[in-house]
C-alpha cells in the first residue's frame, strides 16, 4: 500500500469517527434521560433495574396531567391560528408586488432573532399593564407570534416553488378566484401548509421561555412544570414525561422533514 492511499484511509477514518463522536455527544444525554426514566432507582443510581413505575405514576400525577393537557391545548390552538394567518400572509407575498412588501418581510426577523428572554419579559410588561394579564390566553398570544414567521417562510417557500402558472391556467379556464383557491391553490400548497402546521405545533409545544414569564401561579404548561420540578427536586417521573415530550416533538419534525423534503435533494 502506498503512502497516499494510507493517508486517504486514515483521514477517511478520522472524518467518520468525528461525525460518530458528534452524534454520540448529541444523543448520549437524551438516551441517558430516557433510560433513567425506566430505571427503578429514585436517585438515578446504577445498576439498572427495569421498571415502568414512573410512567404509571404519571397517570395519577394531577399537576403533570393538567400541565400536559394545557400544553397540548395551547399548541393545537396555536397551530390552527398561526397556520391560517401565516398562510394568508404568505399568499399575499407570493401573489402581489406592493409597496412595503420588503418591510413587512423584514419585520418577520425580530420575533426570530431577539432573545426570547427579552420578548417574554416585554410581553409580561405589556400584558400586565393593559390588563390582558397572564395565563393560557397570554401564552397563546405569544406562541402564535413566534410561530407566524416560520409559517410564512415555510409556506412561502412552497409557493415560490409552484409559481403562478397553475393559478393563471385555472383563471384562463374560467375558474372564479374562489374556485381557483379551493380547488387548485390549496391542494398544491397542502404539503407546505401541513409542514408549517407541524412546525408551529413544535414551536408552541417546546416553548418554555415565553410560557415561563406568562404563567400565573397555579396555571402551567409542561416545560414550566418541568422547570419548577428541576429546581425544587425531582424524581424519574420527570424523565418519563420528558421522554414522552421528546418523542412527540421529534415525530413532528420527522413528518415535517418528509413533507418539506428538507435536508436532501430527492
Amino acid at each position: 500500500m502506498n503512502q497516499a492511499r494510507l493517508t486517504v484511509l486514515v483521514s477517511e477514518g478520522a472524518g467518520r469517527l468525528w461525525l460518530f463522536l458528534v452524534l454520540v455527544f448529541l444523543y448520549l444525554p437524551i438516551l441517558v434521560l430516557a433510560v433513567m426514566g425506566l430505571n427503578d432507582s429514585v436517585h438515578y443510581t446504577l445498576p439498572f433495574t427495569f421498571t415502568t413505575r414512573w410512567y404509571e405514576d404519571l397517570a395519577s400525577n394531577e399537576r403533570l396531567l393538567q400541565a400536559s393537557f394545557n400544553s397540548v391545548a395551547v399548541a393545537l390552538a396555536n397551530t390552527v391560528i398561526a397556520t391560517i394567518l401565516g398562510t394568508m400572509a404568505a399568499l399575499a407575498f407570493a401573489r402581489y408586488r406592493f409597496r412595503g412588501r420588503t418591510v413587512l418581510q423584514l419585520l418577520l426577523f425580530p420575533p426570530i432573532t431577539i432573545p426570547w428572554l427579552i420578548i417574554g419579559t416585554s410581553m409580561l410588561v405589556l400584558f400586565f399593564w393593559t390588563g390582558i394579564g397572564r395565563g393560557l390566553h397570554a401564552m397563546l398570544l405569544g406562541h402564535v407570534a413566534l410561530s407566524l414567521p416560520y409559517v410564512i417562510i415555510v409556506v412561502g417557500a412552497r409557493l415560490a416553488s409552484i409559481g403562478p402558472d397553475l393559478e393563471e391556467a385555472a383563471a384562463s379556464l374560467g375558474a372564479t378566484p374562489f374556485q381557483s383557491l379551493v380547488r387548485v391553490q390549496i391542494p398544491v400548497m397542502a404539503p407546505g401548509i401541513v409542514a408549517a402546521a407541524l412546525f408551529a405545533f413544535a414551536v408552541s409545544f417546546d416553548q418554555f421561555v415565553i410560557s415561563y414569564f406568562l404563567a400565573p401561579p397555579g396555571v402551567s404548561v409542561l416545560p414550566v412544570e418541568i422547570f419548577s420540578a428541576i429546581r425544587k427536586g425531582f424524581t424519574p417521573e420527570v424523565n418519563a414525561i420528558s421522554t414522552i415530550m421528546i418523542v412527540i416533538s421529534m415525530t413532528a419534525l420527522l413528518l415535517f422533514a418528509r413533507l418539506s423534503k428538507f435536508g436532501g435533494e430527492r
Binding site: V22, L85, G86, T113, P115, S122, L254
Partner: protein, 287 residues
C-alpha cells in the same frame, strides 16, 4: 381603478391579521418595555409617570452589572468557538465526503435533537454530569482511582449544555454553504498541484465564511441572552446578565431596570449584527 382597489383590499385582508397579531404581541410589548426602561418605577400602584435615566446609569456605574454582561459575552464567545471547532469538521465531512441516502439520514439525525425541548436537554445534562452520574461512572471504569468528577454547578457544565443546544445550528449552516461549493473548482486546484491543506485554507474556508458567520450569529445571540441554562447547570456560579434580567421580573419586580438591561443587551446584539452584515453581504455577492 376598480382592480387596483380590489388588489389593495386583498393585500390588506391577507396580511392584516398576521401583522396585527405581531404588532400586539411583539412590537407593542417591546415599545412598552422601552417606555418603562426610561421610567422611575414600574406599573405597580398609583404614581405619576416620571422620566428617569437612572436604570441605564445603573449599568454604567455598577461594576458588577458590567462584569456580568462581560461574562455573558465571554460565554457567547466560548460556546460559538467550540461550536465552530466541533461543527465545521463534521459539516465538512457530511457535505463533501458522504453521499446519497446516508448523508440525508445523518443530516436528519444531527438536526433532530434540535426539536427536543431545550429545557429537557439541559435537564438531561444535570443527570449525566452529577456526581456518581453517567460521565463519572464511565471515567472511573476506564481509569479507576481518579478523583470523582463533579461538574454540578460549574462553568464547564454551562458551556457543555449550551454547545449541546446550539451545535446543530453551526453544522446546518456550514453544511449548506459547503454543499454549494462546485466540485470542479476543487478539481481545478488539484490538477494545478494544490495540496489538500492549501485547498482547505485558500478555497473551502473562504467559501464557507457565510455559513460560519450565519451559524455564529444564530448561536451567539441566543447564548448571550440565555438564562435558564446557566441557572440550571451553573447553580450559584451561573449568574449572568440573562439571569439578572430574569430576576428583575420574577423575583425583585424591578421592571424598569430589567428593561434597561434588556435594551443594553439588544443594543449589543444589533451592534454585532451591524458588524457582521457587510461580511455576509460581500460573500453572498462574490459566491
Amino acid at each position: 381603478m376598480r382592480i387596483e382597489t380590489r388588489r389593495r383590499w386583498a393585500i390588506a385582508w391577507l396580511t392584516g391579521p398576521a401583522y396585527l397579531w405581531l404588532a400586539v404581541t411583539i412590537f407593542l410589548p417591546l415599545s412598552a418595555m422601552l417606555y418603562f426602561s426610561f421610567q422611575k418605577k414600574g406599573p405597580f400602584g398609583k404614581h405619576a409617570s416620571e422620566f428617569s435615566l437612572k436604570h441605564y446609569e445603573a449599568f454604567f456605574t455598577k461594576g458588577y452589572l458590567q462584569d456580568l454582561m462581560w461574562r455573558s459575552l465571554e460565554m457567547g464567545f466560548h460556546v460559538t468557538g467550540l461550536c465552530i471547532l466541533i461543527g465545521f469538521p463534521a459539516a465538512y465531512w457530511l457535505a463533501r465526503r458522504i453521499r446519497g441516502r446516508w448523508r440525508e439520514a445523518l443530516f436528519l439525525l444531527i438536526v433532530l435533537p434540535f426539536w427536543s425541548n431545550a429545557l429537557v436537554r439541559v435537564f438531561s445534562w444535570t443527570i449525566v454530569l452529577r456526581p456518581d452520574g453517567v460521565l463519572d461512572r464511565a471515567v472511573q471504569s476506564v481509569i479507576p482511582g481518579l478523583p470523582a468528577i463533579d461538574l454540578t454547578d460549574s462553568y464547564p457544565a454551562i458551556i457543555i449544555g449550551l454547545v449541546h443546544s446550539y451545535l446543530p445550528y453551526m453544522i446546518l449552516t456550514c453544511f449548506l454553504s459547503l454543499q454549494a461549493i462546485d466540485e470542479s473548482l476543487l478539481e481545478a486546484a488539484r490538477s494545478l498541484g494544490a495540496r489538500s491543506w492549501t485547498i482547505l485554507v485558500r478555497i473551502i474556508l473562504p467559501l464557507a465564511v457565510p455559513g460560519l458567520a450565519a451559524g455564529s450569529i444564530l448561536i451567539f445571540v441566543p447564548v448571550i441572552g440565555s438564562f435558564f441554562e446557566p441557572r440550571l447547570l451553573g447553580g450559584p456560579k451561573g449568574t449572568v446578565i440573562g439571569t439578572v434580567i430574569e430576576e428583575q421580573f420574577t423575583v425583585v419586580s424591578n421592571w424598569p431596570l430589567g428593561g434597561a438591561l434588556s435594551f443594553i443587551l439588544l443594543a449589543i446584539v444589533l451592534l454585532i449584527l451591524a458588524v457582521a452584515a457587510p461580511v455576509l453581504k460581500n460573500h453572498m455577492r462574490t459566491t
